[in-house]
Symmetry: C2
């Protein structure tokens, strides 16, 4: 336990996340992270040559965790088409204080240079593709993905004007969109 020399990188990302959780996004600085990770700033910069690299590391960690959560929830659901959508919704919209704080902090950091997120476009594409494989047409699949993301974003930015109960009903509605066949065009 006390020995984890194997991967200082992971230790540093742990520390960075803890800085955000304990001190807030504004204090995500190289100094703070180094301090929390019990490394010097020089040491930190050996593993992540600059702050952008550290942010990339943090983003990757989050994307990985989200995907793990999705797989995990999917495994617990009956093996049918709709489950793919439900697993996605549940993992993304999970109200986890910790995860949300991290997401906001990363958005804050990343908003200064949205290009940092381009590599994750394909993750969203994959989600839509997976929805399509359940028999949904592309437009409907994309709409569901967008509504879920919209809910998530608004929640993160404290923009969501709904009660918890309303929120639940809306989520049901969104999931329900996967059942209604679109009329032919």
């Amino acid at each position: 336990m006390s020995r984890h020399s194997g991967n200082t990188r992971e230790t540093i990302i742990d520390a960075a996340e803890n800085v955000v959780l304990e001190l807030g996004a504004r204090h995500l600085t190289l100094d703070a992270v180094a301090g929390k990770a019990k490394v010097s700033k020089g040491g930190l910069l050996y593993h992540f040559p600059n702050k952008e690299a550290l942010l990339h590391g943090m983003l990757d960690r989050r994307v990985t965790r989200l995907e793990e959560s999705r797989q995990q929830k999917l495994a617990l659901l009956p093996h049918n088409a709709k489950s793919v959508i439900i697993a996605h919704v549940r993992s993304l919209l999970e109200r986890d204080e910790r995860t949300n704080k991290l997401a906001v902090a990363l958005l804050a950091a990343v908003a200064h240079d949205p290009q940092l997120l381009v590599p994750y476009q394909k993750e969203q594409k994959k989600v839509v593709d997976q929805f399509c494989q359940t028999g949904l047409n592309f437009e409907r699949a994309a709409t569901i993905m967008l509504a879920v993301q919209g809910l998530k974003f608004m929640e993160l930015f404290s923009l969501l004007p709904f009660t918890t109960k309303e929120r639940s009903r809306i989520i049901e509605e969104i999931i329900g969109l996967s059942e209604q066949k679109k009329h032919a065009r």
Copy 2:
């Protein structure tokens, strides 16, 4: 033209927007704004006692402009229920380089303290209420609002994995949701 002494505040907000557009969000500093507005930093700080106040001014300007655009587009549409939704979608999803840059910059600035956005929750609520007045049920109205916002956010963060053509089809789908009656519950 050369005289606009009446409202230095507006001049300063103009300048702040131009700083963002010309230099990027990262350079939205009091120095840069003062320079662009041809005021000293002291002068700027007389009108906006701190940076947060300036951000509030910028946010208000944006919300106002968006609302104006919505009213304007609504006036050009036939006077029926669906037009409310179309006007909303068109004004929010308009691909205006200028507006989008400003939105990203403000998100970047504001993400550090999402509480700043709480005052604008009610704007979103109003949108949903207006949709409901067209005969839509609440859940469906909210879903449409969320999908539109999701599209907007993802686009701002360069997360949208669709082509322009796909994007158009998806927007049609979202608008179409206002026509399909939800089955009773």
